[in-house]
Amino acid sequence: MPEGVPEEVLRAAVPKVLGALVRRFGQFDEAEDAVQEALLAASVQWPREGMPDHPEGWLVTVASRRMIDRFRAESARQRREEALAAMEPVAVPGADEGVGGGDDTLALLFLCCHPALSEPSQVALTLRAVGGLSTAEIAGAFLVPEATMAQRISRAKQKIKDAGARFDQPVTSERLGVVLHVLYLVFNEGYTASGGPELQRADLTAEALRLARTVRALLPDDGEAAGLLALMLLTDARRAARTDAEGALVPLAEQDRSRWDAAMIAEGVELVSSALTSAELGPYQLQAAIAAVHAEAPGAAETDWPQIAALYALLERLAPNPVVTLNRAVAVAMAEGPRSALELLEPLEADGRITRHHRWWAVRAHLLELAGDTVAAGEAYREAARRTTSLPERRYLTGRAAGISG
């Protein structure tokens, strides 16, 4: 980002500038490249010559010129003339021309989260075209080489083109669901990162929060948009307390709650409370409500576990998923005791799919430990440690196994 240019200004401008270009020229893929080039030009020119009076208008002008240059360069003479003739009624805007309203951001999100794309492609394209991150930044955040990410993005754009996706799509709850899911994935990718050399990944959390705020502002009556933002706020509020000085994970029950971010919690609780009373119930609101119950408890022991268990039961009905059942079992163990919780796991075990996953073994180990069966608990912790692909989780689980058999 250019020195002296507030990053928020540039990044916030990206979807507006891109929206203006797509409206003018169509051709999402070309427009997206042109906007990236304009951002690069800004990073060279602005620090030297100062910020233009209308940064967005400046970016639209420069990006438009790039697009027209490209038409000229790559088209055969006749095609070029046709294209230019078709463009003629559209004047390249002056630097003072304003750009479209915030609605373009939503249209772009819908395009980037097109159902024809795989989840990683939706995520990458959203971060670039709406978030304004460079390919190198996105590649760094997902720990893949820049060439890999560049391919992923250009393939995604090609797919959108092939699918004949239109820019203006009606807002349906199904499509909005995909957008919210993509933002949730971005958030999780950032949140699950540990500290230290991978701190850059925390930027993904901030980016997801920023985009979730934008969606929430554009769709103030949507309960799930509010629920997702609340969930992110209430989860991210725990960031400082979730790892210790060595970067090891600290379980929720042992976290120093004075290090939780009170302002984020207040905002999240307020958001989810008002969504729950005024909008249609959805999974993000329920997850946010669960996070809010945790956030409002002074300690693990004072947590309203029956309330959390009830919320998980509701979530399980609304969006059945083995991971939800596992979480519900943990809450039931706290509310009613480990034996009732272990019973909840039985149908999952019969199904068999979840038992390949380390979380199943970790929850089972925890419940067996609570029930006093330390031998079986130790074995389950060790099995969980073998199955996780996360180094900090393996350290934690191995530590639990050693702790109870020692």
Partner: protein
């Protein structure tokens, strides 16, 4: 991870070897184009391996691989796939899978969730 038997590989008829190379080229191109290929290397023959052990602070270096078997780790490929099934599918199409074996394993990472 690509496992093969270098001696047996050398004995394959030229035409068959060529088919194998073409298949590998095509698959690599596909993975590059899809943005799934993160990296990878072919490893030199296990005959070139040197195995290092330190016992009681004393290093001992011996010629030859750690595991004595005809099948050796011949190379590896790092792919970033949406699902484990997709990684297995790629392994299925790698020619060494027909003769010897491919092993698919997740990569450990340094992130995690608190429990």
């Amino acid at each position: 991870m690509i496992y093969n038997n270098a001696a047996a590989l050398d004995e394959l008829p030229d035409a068959e070897l060529e088919t194998i190379m073409d298949e590998v080229d095509a698959l690599m191109e596909e993975l590059q184009a899809s943005g799934e290929l993160v990296g990878g290397q072919a490893l030199a023959d296990a005959a070139t391996a040197r195995t290092v052990r330190v016992r009681g602070g004393v290093p001992a270096v011996t010629d030859g691989p750690f595991a004595e078997s005809k099948e050796q780790l011949a190379g590896y490929l790092i792919v970033d796939c949406e699902t484990e099934e997709r990684a297995v599918e790629i392994a299925t199409r790698w020619p060494d899978a027909r003769y010897w074996a491919m092993e698919v394993r997740p990569i450990m990472h340094t992130s995690g969730t608190e429990m």
